[in-house]
């Protein structure tokens, strides 16, 4: 398919003009060389020679040293060419060896999604079709609910009940050590560490809303938050366990026993504390415990999965299929949780899901993205067999689905998303006006260059 094509009329017009301009002096040279000398100096010459003669050529060959001149020209030209090619080759080689800085591409996954969208639009089919077709029409969402401002199980239960009223059919809440920061005697840690940790936690929380760019100094202050869970030395006391169990019991009493409820953000606990907590929570049949320890500790996952009768889940920080394999091989997870925009894109996520299917492990998809990323995840979700639910963070953000133009209306129907049967992902464009209204106060411009990010420190751990 050739899509860059000039109108034939213009192409031919330009070509003819170029050929006339180029060839006319050549033509005139030829015509003049074929004229008798007398005719050359006639005023008002005509375009066509009136008399044609080869006398000039005969004269050239017979009465001048033309052959010698040609030989001289060739000799000079060839020698100069040989030397300049030799020297230029050496110079060119050394120039190409100059160090040219390259940039390793982050955003591989984002580019991959964009390419699927283009491929779909080029072939006129939805992306799920290119991934092999649909197992289902609707994508079940599971709705996130953070613990902020929900100091007891009743408050959390009410928040979750509001989600159910909106039609969501699958829920997740945060439940972790941070809930116990102000509960006397609920946590055990090296003395003094907890205060340091709490202080960093609170500054981080307040700063999350502040517009200042991240700095090296800020990163140092928050360093304590980046200690991998098992290294923090934090343990739950019996009182802590009682408190958390009571919290979950209260939540269940409000939302009832039927709706699946997953748990996330457990905090900096070691495996032993997690096993003790897990055993207490078994009777509440939680959907899963998410990211209890960094995903790299495969054996700790295997231990946890064997010790506790709650599905263990991780994956939102894992890039590429091969990094999911050890967790599945060792039986470390009962639910796998990749993010399309972290795992390496849509096809990679599909491959991860297919691999998990061989181990009998279902897929929940992590997602905290714009409608574009959400649709990418949704197209994968309908195209995989072992799909459980797709995460949804923006239930409280009224303008979220306005970020992209051309989405089905309403985008979310009774807790499900339906990938549109339109070419590509099914969006027309981004909605720059809505984007502009909701910019980060520290980054006032839309589509600004990202060079400044090279100097920025970000809260980007390799695990959750």
């Amino acid at each position: 398919m050739r899509t860059f094509r000039m109108r034939r009329r213009y192409a031919w017009g330009l070509l003819v003009a170029g050929l006339l301009w180029t060839t006319f002096p050549l033509y005139w040279m030829l015509v003049t060389s074929l004229k008798p000398v007398a005719d050359m100096f006639m005023p008002l010459p005509s375009l066509w020679p009136s008399r044609v003669t080869l006398a000039n050529y005969v004269d050239l060959l017979a009465n001048t040293g033309f052959v010698t001149f040609v030989r001289n020209s060739l000799a000079v030209g060839l020698v100069a060419m040989v030397f300049s090619v030799m020297i230029s080759t050496l110079a060119a080689y050394s120039i190409t060896r100059l160090p040219l800085p390259g940039r390793q591409g982050g955003g591989v996954s984002g580019v991959e999604v964009a390419l699927w969208d283009l491929a779909g639009k080029a072939y006129g089919v939805p992306v799920y079709q290119l991934l092999g077709g649909k197992f289902r029409d609707g994508v079940r969402l599971y709705c996130d609910t953070d613990a902020h401002g929900k100091g007891d199980g009743r408050a959390m239960g009410q928040a979750l009940k509001a989600r159910l009223a909106k039609g969501f059919t699958f829920l997740k809440m945060d439940l972790g050590a941070s809930l116990l920061f102000d509960v006397e005697g609920a946590l055990s840690a090296p003395l003094g560490f907890l205060d340091q940790f709490k202080a960093a936690w609170r500054t981080a929380e307040t700063r999350q809303a502040s517009p200042q760019p991240q700095s090296a100094e800020r990163r140092r202050e928050e360093e304590v938050l980046h200690i991998p869970h098992p290294f923090a030395g934090l343990q739950l006391t019996e009182k802590g366990l009682d408190w958390l169990e009571g919290y979950v019991a209260e939540v269940r009493s409000v939302i009832g026993p039927e709706v699946p409820l997953a748990i996330d953000h457990l905090g900096h606990l070691n495996v032993e504390s997690l096993i003790r907590l897990g055993r207490r929570l078994e009777k509440y049949h939680l959907a899963w415990l998410e990211d209890p320890v960094p995903w790299q500790y495969t054996d700790q996952y295997a231990r946890l999965s064997r010790a506790v009768a709650i599905p263990i889940c991780t994956g939102e920080d894992i890039y590429l299929k091969e990094n999911f394999r050890p967790l599945l091989e060792r039986g470390g997870v009962s639910v796998i949780h990749p993010d399309v925009l972290t795992a390496g894109g849509m096809l990679e996520t599909k491959k991860i899901a297919d691999m998990a299917a061989e181990y009998g492990v279902p897929v929940a998809l992590h997602m905290a993205e714009s409608p574009v990323g959400c649709l990418a995840a949704a197209h994968v979700a309908v195209a995989i067999e072992n799909f459980l639910a797709l995460e949804f963070h923006a239930a409280d953000v009224a303008w979220w689905s306005d970020l992209a133009a051309g989405l089905p209306e309403p985008f979310i129907r009774d807790g499900f998303i339906y990938p549109p049967d339109r070419p590509g992902l099914g969006i027309d464009d981004l909605n720059d006006e809505v984007l502009r209204e909701h910019l980060h106060p520290g980054i006032p411009g839309l589509w600004e260059p990202t060079d400044g990010w090279n100097e920025t420190w970000a809260h980007d751990r390799l695990w959750s």
Binding site: R2, T3, L14, W21, T23, P25, W28, L118
Partner: protein, 307 residues
């Protein structure tokens, strides 16, 4: 690598401080041939020219050192400034036209037209025509007594009397610019055609999917992709055109009334008519800052793109 060079022993692979002199010597040996060529072919003559420009050397007489005297004279020489003006008009006028025409022809020759190979070959011919032949041919065509251009215009009724294209101060510079353009368009055409051919067809497909027509594909894909080629071709061509001596010397010799006298023509006049070699070399070297500026500009542009 023979004796005295570097052999790959384990100790040579070890990058200790004691190994550095060896690396340096090897490195110097590697660049030595190029260095000899550059110093011998470019450095030495340049140095000699600079030292000559600081003397009052006349052809046939020994020169004495006069410091910056020649350059001081230049600053107050209205002819020099006229030549600088003409050089700029000649170079930039010709390069602008060559770039425009070259780009247009490159786009056309990139199209899938029948007989494309033949058209490409024909368009390339002026590049192979020696400058001297091109200039003589055009002088012949421009002639006001028996030139074909005047003959055609008279027959078409566009002019009443033959125009002395090369003999009138109003038209001479434009006339020599056109000769240079005729000779130089193929360079731009083929540089840009090469640039066009390496543009990934997928970019056009992607743009077409997003609804881009021919004009916006040119604007958003072709022009940005060709920008580096355009810059380097224009830079090289500016330098060549600035230094072009043959075209003007053969057609007008710098006249009439200095209307086409550029820096190289003025240099020739001072050196071989006035025999003031020192002053002539100074004239020619005075234009060097222009070239240095152009080269610095272009390398900056490239460094900016590669970073």
């Amino acid at each position: 690598m023979g004796e005295g060079g570097v052999t790959l022993s384990p100790s040579a692979l070890h990058r200790g401080p004691s190994q550095r002199p060896v690396d340096l010597i090897t490195g110097l040996l590697m660049v030595a041939p190029l260095l000899v060529v550059i110093v011998g072919v470019m450095g030495a003559p340049l140095l000699q020219a600079v030292s000559l420009s600081l003397t009052d050397k006349r052809i046939g007489l020994p020169g004495t050192f006069v410091g910056w005297g020649n350059y001081g004279r230049l600053v107050h020489d209205p002819l020099f400034w006229l030549a600088v003006r003409n050089s700029f008009l000649y170079a930039f006028g010709a390069v602008a036209l060559k770039l425009l025409a070259g780009f247009g022809l490159a786009l056309v020759l990139n199209e899938e037209l029948p007989w494309r190979g033949l058209w490409r070959a024909i368009i390339l011919i002026p590049w192979a025509v020696p400058e001297l032949v091109a200039a003589l041919t055009w002088r012949w065509m421009y002639s006001d007594t028996n030139g074909i251009i005047n003959a055609l215009l008279l027959r078409a009724g566009l002019i009443e009397f033959p125009v002395p294209w090369l003999g009138s101060p109003q038209t001479a510079l434009a006339a020599v610019v056109l000769i240079n353009v005729w000779k130089g368009v193929p360079f731009f055409t083929f540089s840009l055609l090469g640039g066009l051919q390496v543009i990934d067809a997928e970019l056009y497909e992607a743009a077409a999917i997003d609804g881009a027509g021919w004009a916006s594909q040119v604007r958003h894909i072709v022009l940005p992709a060709l920008a580096p080629v355009m810059v380097i071709a224009s830079l090289l061509s500016t330098i060549w055109t600035f230094n072009d001596f043959t075209t003007i010397f053969v057609t007008t010799g710098g006249g009439p009334a200095y209307a086409t006298t550029t820096v190289p023509i003025l240099t020739y006049e001072k050196a071989f008519w006035n025999l003031e070699l020192g002053y002539a070399v100074a004239t020619s070297l005075a234009a060097a800052p222009v070239f240095i500026g152009l080269i610095v500009l272009a390398t900056r542009l490239f460094a900016g793109r590669e970073r």
